[in-house]
């Protein structure tokens, strides 16, 4: 396991085998989603993981621009046959993923162990 660059928005990021596990913190909207996008894409482009695991326990809210970051991450991972797993969806985050019909597109896991095993 190795530590990767972090920020206030992404307080933890580490490599676990061929996966990158990150946590995201805060209310994510069009004001801060560009920063999240660049941080996540940097990790994907430099780390080339087979799996991205995103812990959203500390994300009480996200808007469509944050959803777009998740979708772009998913597409980036799909290009190399990788996966994106989401953990700990809070009610409002779950809500917007359902509205956008993306709840069936992402792999939603109950914890990191399950996500790593998928």
């Amino acid at each position: 396991m190795s530590e990767l660059p972090t920020s206030e928005l992404m307080p933890t990021a580490r490599r676990v085998g061929d996966a990158i596990v990150i946590s995201v913190r805060g209310e994510i909207d069009m004001h801060n989603s560009p920063q999240l996008r660049s941080e996540v894409l940097y990790l994907l482009n430099t780390g080339k993981p087979r799996k991205l695991i995103v812990d959203l326990a500390q994300v009480a809210y996200m808007d469509s621009s944050a959803v777009a970051v998740l979708v772009e991450s998913l597409k980036t991972m799909h290009r190399t046959g990788g996966k994106v797993c989401l953990l700990n969806l809070q009610p409002r985050v779950k809500g917007i993923l359902e509205i956008s019909r993306l709840n069936a597109v992402f792999s939603i896991c109950k914890d990191e162990q399950e996500a790593l095993a998928k």
């Binding site: 209310e27 909207d29 069009m30 004001h31 809210y61 808007d63 469509s64 621009s65 959803v67 777009a68 979708v71 998913l74 597409k75 009610p91 409002r92 809500g95 917007i96 509205i99 956008s100 019909r101 993306l102 597109v105």
Partner: protein, 135 residues
């Protein structure tokens, strides 16, 4: 019965930094109108998405243009209006059956699904968006 709170009048710019404060103010207002927490969050999301669309589309990304957000409650109905002085183009509110992985349009999907009434009224110098939801 919940007493109607005093109408909310917010005069802001199109800067995305204003999204969270406005969302929070509208959510406090909606809660004071008697909406349940889930509905409060949905109303906040719709105002967020409408404001983001104004910045993106009406103002082409400019962050220093005026936006007026007003909210009032009468009977059992919350009405939120957003006025901009942008391009005045009316977005389509038709259902969007395309691939959910294709970008764009999610903000309007939220408005259509979560509000009881959504109307874009072109003005001579911009747009007036009215969204309503009953308790």
């Amino acid at each position: 019965m919940t007493a109607s709170p005093k109408p909310l009048r917010l005069r802001i710019t199109s800067d995305p930094a204003n999204l969270a404060p406005v969302r929070h103010e509208v959510e406090i207002f909606a809660a004071a109108c008697g909406f349940k927490p889930n509905a409060v969050g949905e109303i906040g999301l719709c105002v967020n998405e409408a404001m983001a669309n104004i910045t993106r589309h009406a103002y082409g990304g400019a962050v220093d243009r005026p936006v007026h957000v007003d909210a009032e409650f009468a009977g059992d109905r919350l009405r939120v209006t957003l006025r901009d002085w942008g391009c005045g183009r009316c977005p389509s509110l038709e259902p969007n059956p395309k691939d959910p992985l294709e970008p764009g349009g999610l903000g309007l999907v939220c408005l259509r699904k979560l509000m009881d009434r959504v109307a874009f009224d072109p003005q001579p110098d911009g747009m007036l968006l009215t969204m309503e939801r009953r308790v």
